[in-house]
Every structure is written in structure tokens, then in C-alpha cells.
Amino acid sequence: MTQDNDKTHELIAFRIGAQQFCVDIRAVREIRGWAMATPLPQAPTWVKGVINLRGTVLPIIDLGARLGFGATEPSQRHVIIVARIGDKTVGLLVEAVSDILTVGSESIQPAPDVSCEAVRCFVKGVIAQEADMISLVSLDGILPEAELREAA
């Protein structure tokens, strides 16, 4: 994700547990409701399976599990953010989409150094909001080929 200075970013904010996260809107293709996924054999725990997105077989990534929150038990309330990562289209399972933000580059602060490995890998910055903080997630590392191969 390019982060040019003095540029505004449009971001989609969503909730995982009690925390707020967001991704660059340019990566997002659509947002849809949860559908039963077909589990895949030999998949990492954070891959929920595959669903049918108008004829495309779409892998579903449990973003909560990916960020280290533990597996999500999906329900009708959960949503799937369909995002483009590189040349692949994937679905990100999150609890709910909360907002669309427009922020300037200057309001994105570098992520504070915390010990959590997953946070260090995926959280590229934080945005302060009135009484809240939103973490900007970089999708680039969500589907690393190496990790997928390892998991195989």
C-alpha cells in the first residue's frame, strides 16, 4: 500500500472483538454477508474455507484469527470484506463494518512497538479518533505464499 504524504486516504473501518481496524478502500471490492464456507483440507486455522462468489471460488480468511485473536465463530451478523491482494481475491471475515473514513497522511501515526508478532506484521499505523484508536491493517502480508506453503 502506498502511503504518499500530503494525500488523503479512504479507509474502511471494521470491528474485531472490541478493537477497530481499517483497510485501504482501494483494495476492497465489495462487502457481503456471511455464507457457509466449505472447509479446505490441510488449511491453516485462519482459513475458514471457500465460498462461491458469483462463480469464483473465494477463500475466506478469519482476520481475527490471522491477527491473533483466536478463531471467530461466524454468525449471520458477520460480514465478509472481499478484497484484492496482489492477483488474488480473498474474503476477510470480520465482525462488522463500522465506518468509511477519510484521513490525511499526517493523521496516520506509526504503529507503536508492541510485542505481539501479528500486530507487528500487519498493523502499519494507527489513527486516533475522538475516544478511540483505529489500526490500519496492511493486507500485503495476509496471504503470504511462504506461509501457505509451510502450512501445506
Binding site: L40, P41, E145
Partner: protein, 757 residues
């Protein structure tokens, strides 16, 4: 891609087609076809390749193509007879040309060394015909085109050419010339720049207005030029018009052609060629569209002329008939620009020269077609879901909504079939590569081989075609190398010295069947068995049926050639062929009669986009098993399932024991019930051995659309692909070989093939 590269890519694409035309034309000539169309088609192919190559500066290619073309020209002019020897050299030249193009595609240059032998052979043929070619890099020779009869054309003049007499150029454009944007006026002007020209128009071919085709070509010009002009220069003028007109360039005999009226016309008059010849008697409209204005002028002339002569009863109706637009005369032609008029009439006008009317095609990016196929597959699923929901909502089964949905279903199926048909192509493109292979392998082995192909127009999915090429190549190599005997052996066996390889394609029950047969010695079963024993594939005392022995040649690492030859026996054998056919969802069988030959039969699905599958339940999941691998399904008795070692289980099937794989366990899906319940699918694995797959239940058989898992995810071992079921959910398609491989340590040692049946 930069524009030049794009053009180049198109050129190479066209080259492939041209080479195919070239080869098929030459093969027709080899089979005895001498008609001008075939020869012309062959010539055109080489000429077009040369032309394109010249534009890209592929000099080596151009030089070689030029020599080839020159020899072909001699055949076209009937100064050289295309006997067997000539065609053989030409076939080899076509191969070489193809090599050149392949090299050029890769950005390489083969160099000219390899061309020399062929060039010499090609030129040697010309040497027989013309003596004055010696020492001339670009031999020119008497050009005597075939005159293509258009109506009651006068017979060609038979006049002895005079060595340095004035040139007589007869130009009879065909409709294609105009369609291709050439203009005889320009040609004539260019000729005039070479020297003093005298142009005579012959408009006797112009029909009644009734019969006139606005897109047709009816005119013929005769140009006289001083004999001092070089022939090459005259030919250059016609370089791009050559195919689309009947062109005669010759030295006039003494007094000149008797029917030529010497009427010197200034160059400017030539430009106005379409208008110059005033309507004469019943020939009101001259020639062809040069420009919109010219058409207009002609139409007016025509209309005027017909009115004057009164020969044609209803001129107005005729004009509008020609233009296919019921507009007033004069403007009628304007309303129909030449490009948009139907090509039918034009091709009729040029019958005799252009071969069978070519089908109109467009080039489409494959991705677009695939996207369309995807969407249509989706449409089918959505339609099914909609129909189900409508019924669930309680609509009457024979109500108007349900009936409407039935129609919709019919339509979507039809759309699906039509879209699938876009990807279908005749197997010709693969078959056409085989003659060359046969020639080469026959040359290497010193055997004399004739290849007979049948059913070349049988259509099958493009991907299937692409992936057929390698297995077929290998099988034909094998058939020649191992199957056919040497000419001496054949003579002794009382067979013709020339062996025959037959390659046939046909549709049978929704699949394509390809047969490769030879009339060779058949499979030497004693030797095959001995080798199998030697390689440890079977026990020395195993009793095998003939069929089982024949099938041993598909076992991995099996090679019957006692010497490893250049051609086959490179370590990969029929096992690889079998595997690649199976990967396509196909099967391969062999029948062999000692002394009579062998027949390999490949049965393949028509498309890779859909697959016939057995839908099964494993745990709470639905899986699809390709029908092609399933040998039988059975519900085994608990007593037939036996443990082998701590984890392994085998299934007793009619006396032999088959390793058993629990699909749920293998894929780590939670399985219901105990391992002894459920249904067993007996499937054929990679090695030809049988494997028993245990599933919970069989739901039924259906055709499923194959969806890639790798596109957005990655390959999963044991899973071939995914599909979408009628309820909109994704189901995984089992990859039996992959599944077995993941379980390899737990599976009993490889089953010898002999036990397989």
C-alpha cells in the same frame, strides 16, 4: 506490449495458420491434387509468410522463403510438374520454414547453413525447367499464369514469346483486389512510370445490369510496354495485387496480340479508368468500386445507359437489387458503401481462383471467452437456485412462473452449450503436426511410413487439443519405432513395404475418441512379459491374460526397445502418456493382434470446463469424484474389510486385496459413523492399480463446472479443483492420485498391474 510487438505477435499467429495451410495444401498435392486452387493456396501461404517476415527484417527467413516461393511459382505456372520428388522436397522446405518461424518467434536466427541443401534442391527443380537461371540469385522465368475462366472468357492466346519483344501485361482483377483496397488505376499508373504504356480496356466481361454484382470484378486491362523494361520491375508493381488478380506478363509475339486495339492513352486517362469506357450496347456498368464517387458515377452511368439501351426492363429495381437498398437509382449505390455489402456476390464473382469460401472468423482473447464461460456457468447455477426457491415459495409447478422458469432453463442450457462451442476447435491443429513427425521419425528409423488421418474436423475443447499434442506425438513415435517393421521385415511378412499409421478422431457418447493404429507387428507378448519380470513388475510365474500383458506397457519405467533409440525410449514411456491422458480425464486402451498391428484408443472429455462426477458425502461435506477414475461402486460386507498392520486397511474384492483409503480421514474431515459403514468406490489410481475409497454416501451423478482453487488460493494436495453445486455452495473435486500420494506411507506396496483386474 508495444505496438510493434503486438503486430509481430499477430504475424506469428498468422504464420501458424499459414503454415498449417501450407502443409495441408502440400499434403493434398502429395495425394495427387493438381488443381490450381491447391497450388495457389500453397503459394499464397509461402508468399504471405515471406511478405510479413520481410516487414520484420527476418532476412534469413525471407531468403529461404523466396527460393521456396520461386519453385512454387514454377509449379503454379505449370512449368514444373509437382511430382512426388518435388512435393517431398517442398514438404521438407515447409518444415524448414516452420523451424525458421519458430526460431524467429524466440528472437533467434537459424542461420543459412541449414538452408543450403534445400535451396539447392529447390533450385535444381527450376534448373530442369529454365536454363537461364544459372548464377541468378533471384531466378526469374517465363511466367504463365493459369487463366481462370470467367464466364465465356476467350481462350488464352497461344503465341510464341519473342525474346525481346514488347511486354504484354494482361490484368484481370478479381473482386478480392478491390476488397483489399487495391486500385487498378494505381497499378496502371505505376506501370506507366516504368515506361511508355498503352492500355486497352476489355469490358466484354461486363454482364447485363440484371446480373451485375456491384462488388464484382468484370474488367480486364491489357497493357503494352516496351520490351526494354525489366520483368522484375513490372512484377514489383503487382507484388501486393498478385493474388487478387489474374495476371499475365509476357513478351508479345511479333505483331502483338491480334485482338488488341492499339489506343495510346495518356496517363491521366488511366486514372479515370472506371469512367473512361463509355457504356457500349449491353455492357452498361464497368468494373468495380474504386471509391464512393466512382461508384456513384458508375451507378449513374449505368442507370443512364440502361435507360438508353432499353435492354433491361426495370433498371430501377435492378440497381436497388444490387445495392440491396430500396433507394432511388444513383443514390442507391451510395447508400451501400462497398465494405458493408455482403461478400457473397463478390466471392461468386471470383470463383475459380479463391478456394472454397472461407468462413468468417474473428480473433478473440481466450480470457474473454473463459470469462464468458464462467459467467454462463454462474447463470446456470443461479437459474437452478431461483427455480428451487420459486418452488419452495409455493408457486404452482405448472403455473406461469414455473413455466417461465422452464423456458429460462432451456435458454441458459443453450447459451452454455453455445459458449462451450466457442472453445471447441477441430483436432486438425494437432493432427496437422503429425505428418512432419512421421516424416522425421520415418527418416531416422529408415522405415517407410504413410500417415492416414480421419475425422480431422472433430471438435474438442482448445485446452484438450493443446494437451493432446505431447501424448499423440509420443504414441506415434512409438508406433513407428516399435510397432512398424523395417521394409525388409515387412516384405518377408508379405506386407507392403510401406507401413501405415492411422490417426482418427470421432465423437462417441459425449466424448472424443482418438484412435492410433499401425499395421505393424503387434505387441510381442513374450518379450513384454519377460521384461516385466526382469523389471520386477510381475512375478515370473504370474499367469496373465493377453490384455493384461498388453497393458504392462503402460507400467512406469517400461521400455521394450532393446536399444534406446533417439526417437522413443528416452526413459519416458507409455506410462507418461497414460498419465497425461488421465490428467485430462481420459482413458487409454490398447488392442493388439500379433502380426497385424496395434490399436490405441484414447477416450477424452470434450471439454475441461465441465466434468462428469459422482457426488458423494463425507462427514458433513459434499465431494465430487471424477467418474472417469471410478471402476465400480460397492457396499462391502464388514468381513471384507481387513486390517493390515496398525493402521492400514485392505478390502477383499473378488479374491484380491485392494488398499483402502478413508476419504474423511485422509482429508481430516470429521467423519460420521464407524469406518466399516458407508460405501466404497473402487477407483483406478495413477499406477493402474486399484484403490478403494470409503465415503459415507453417494448422492448421485452429475456434470459439474470445474473451478480453479489456485486462482485465489493455492493447490491443495488430494483436491483437484472445486465446483459449485446447485445450492450455490462450493464442493471440492477429489484428486484420487493426490489423495493416495498423501497417504502413501500407509498404503500397501504398489499393486502390480496384473492384479488390477
Amino acid at each position: 506490449m508495444d505496438p510493434m510487438e503486438e503486430i509481430k505477435a499477430t504475424f506469428f499467429q498468422e504464420c501458424d495458420e499459414l503454415l498449417a495451410d501450407l502443409e495441408s495444401g502440400l499434403l493434398e498435392m502429395e495425394a495427387g491434387a493438381t488443381d490450381p486452387e491447391t497450388v495457389n493456396a500453397v503459394f499464397r501461404a509461402v508468399h504471405s509468410v515471406k511478405g510479413g517476415a520481410g516487414a520484420f527484417g527476418l532476412d534469413t527467413l525471407v531468403r529461404f522463403a523466396h527460393v521456396f516461393e520461386t519453385t512454387l511459382d514454377a509449379v503454379r505456372n505449370q512449368t514444373l510438374e509437382a511430382d512426388a520428388a518435388v512435393v517431398r522436397v517442398m514438404l521438407r522446405s515447409a518444415d524448414r520454414l516452420s523451424d525458421h518461424i519458430t526460431a524467429a518467434k524466440a528472437g533467434e536466427d537459424l542461420g543459412e547453413e541449414g538452408d543450403q541443401a534445400l535451396i539447392q534442391e529447390l533450385q535444381a527443380f527450376l534448373g530442369d525447367v529454365e536454363d537461364d537461371t544459372a548464377g541468378d540469385d533471384m531466378p526469374d522465368f517465363g511466367f504463365k499464369p493459369m487463366l481462370i475462366s470467367l464466364g465465356d472468357d476467350p481462350a488464352p492466346l497461344e503465341l510464341a514469346p519473342v525474346a525481346n519483344g514488347p511486354w504484354e501485361i494482361i490484368l484481370r482483377p478479381q473482386a478480392a483486389l478491390y476488397r483489399n483496397g487495391n486500385d487498378p488505376a494505381v497499378l496502371l499508373r505505376e506501370l506507366a512510370m516504368l515506361g511508355q504504356t498503352t492500355v486497352t480496356l476489355d469490358d466484354s466481361g461486363v454482364p447485363d445490369l440484371n446480373d451485375l454484382d456491384a462488388q464484382g470484378a468484370y474488367l480486364c486491362w491489357t497493357v503494352s510496354m516496351p520490351g526494354t523494361v525489366e520483368e522484375d520491375r513490372i512484377r514489383e508493381v503487382f507484388e501486393f495485387a498478385d493474388f487478387d488478380c489474374d495476371l499475365t506478363i509476357r513478351r508479345s509475339a511479333g505483331e502483338g496480340a491480334n485482338e488488341i486495339v492499339e489506343a495510346p492513352l495518356p496517363v491521366l486517362a488511366v486514372e479515370e479508368a472506371p469512367a473512361v469506357p463509355e457504356p457500349l450496347a449491353d455492357a452498361p456498368v464497368e468494373g468495380e468500386a474504386f471509391s464512393l464517387d466512382a461508384i456513384l458515377a458508375m451507378a449513374r452511368d449505368a442507370a443512364a445507359a440502361t435507360e438508353l439501351t432499353g435492354d433491361v426492363p426495370a433498371p430501377q429495381a435492378d440497381v436497388s437489387d444490387v445495392s440491396q437498398a430500396p433507394a432511388p437509382q444513383g443514390s442507391a449505390v451510395e447508400a451501400s458503401p462497398p465494405a458493408s455489402a455482403p461478400p457473397r456476390a463478390a466471392s461468386e464473382a471470383s470463383t475459380g481462383s479463391s478456394a472454397t469460401p472461407t468462413q468468417q472468423t474473428i480473433r478473440v482473447d481466450l480470457d474473454r471467452v473463459d470469462r464468458l464461460i464462467d459467467l454462463v456457468g454462474e447463470l446456470v447455477i443461479n437459474q437452478a437456485m431461483l427455480a428451487q426457491k420459486v418452488l419452495e415459495e409455493g408457486a404452482a409447478p405448472s403455473g406461469s412462473v414455473a413455466l417461465g422458469l422452464d423456458d429460462l432453463e432451456q435458454l441458459t442450457r443453450e447459451i452454455q452449450d453455445s459458449v462451450m462451442a466457442i472453445r471447441a476447435q477441430p483436432v486438425k491443429s494437432v493432427f496437422q503436426r503429425m505428418p512432419r513427425l512421421v516424416r522425421e521419425v520415418a527418416g531416422m528409423t529408415g522405415k517407410s511410413v504413410r500417415l492416414v488421418t480421419e475425422g480431422e474436423n472433430t471438435e474438442v475443447d482448445k485446452t484438450v487439443i493443446e494437451r493432446l499434442s505431447d501424448p499423440l506425438t509420443h504414441m506415434i513415435r512409438n508406433a513407428i519405432d516399435h510397432g512398424l517393421e523395417t521394409p525388409e521385415q515387412r516384405r518377408e511378412a508379405g506386407k507392403p513395404e510401406e507401413g501405415t499409421i492411422r490417426l482418427a478422431a470421432l465423437h462417441r457418447s459425449g466424448r472424443i475418441v482418438i484412435e492410433i493404429s499401425d499395421d505393424g507387428k503387434g505387441i510381442d507378448r513374450t518379450r513384454v512379459k519377460a521384461i516385466a519380470v526382469e523389471r520386477g513388475l510381475i512375478d515370473a510365474d504370474a499367469t496373465l491374460t493377453d490384455e493384461e500383458i498388453d497393458n504392462l506397457i503402460f507400467a512406469p519405467g517400461f521400455s521394450t526397445a532393446s536399444t534406446i533409440s533417439d526417437i522413443s525410449g528416452r526413459g519416458v514411456g507409455m506410462d507418461v502418456v497414460k498419465r497425461s491422458i488421465q490428467a485430462l480425464g481420459g482413458r487409454i486402451t490398447i488392442t493388439s493382434t500379433p502380426g497385424k498391428g496395434s490399436l490405441f484408443t484414447l477416450s477424452l472429455p470434450l471439454t475441461l470446463a465441465v466434468l462428469d462426477g459422482m457426488v458423494v458425502t463425507v462427514g458433513d461435506q459434499t465431494l465430487v469424484v471424477p467418474i472417469t477414475v471410478i471402476v465400480e461402486t460397492l457396499q462391502p460386507k464388514a468381513s471384507d474389510i481387513r486390517g493390515l498392520g496398525p493402521e492400514g486397511t485392505v478390502l477383499a474384492v473378488r479374491g484380491s486385496h485392494v488398499p483402502m483409503v478413508d476419504v474423511g480421514q485422509a482429508l481430516k474431515f470429521p467423519s460420521q459413523g464407524n469406518a466399516r459403514a458407508g460405501v466404497t468406490l473402487l477407483v483406478e489410481s495413477e499406477l493402474g492399480g486399484l484403490i478403494a475409497l470409503r465415503v459415507d454416501a453417494i448422492q448421485g451423478q452429475r456434470q459439474v463446472v470445474i473451478k480453479s482453487l489456485e486462482q485465489n488460493y493455492r493447490q491443495v494436495s488430494g483436491i483437484a479443483a472445486a465446483t459449485i453445486l446447485g445450492d450455490g455452495r462450493v464442493a471440492l473435486i477429489l484428486d484420487v492420485d493426490g489423495l493416495v500420494a498423501t497417504r502413501r506411507p500407509a498404503v500397501a506396496p504398489q499393486q502390480p498391474l496384473a492384479q488390477a483386474s
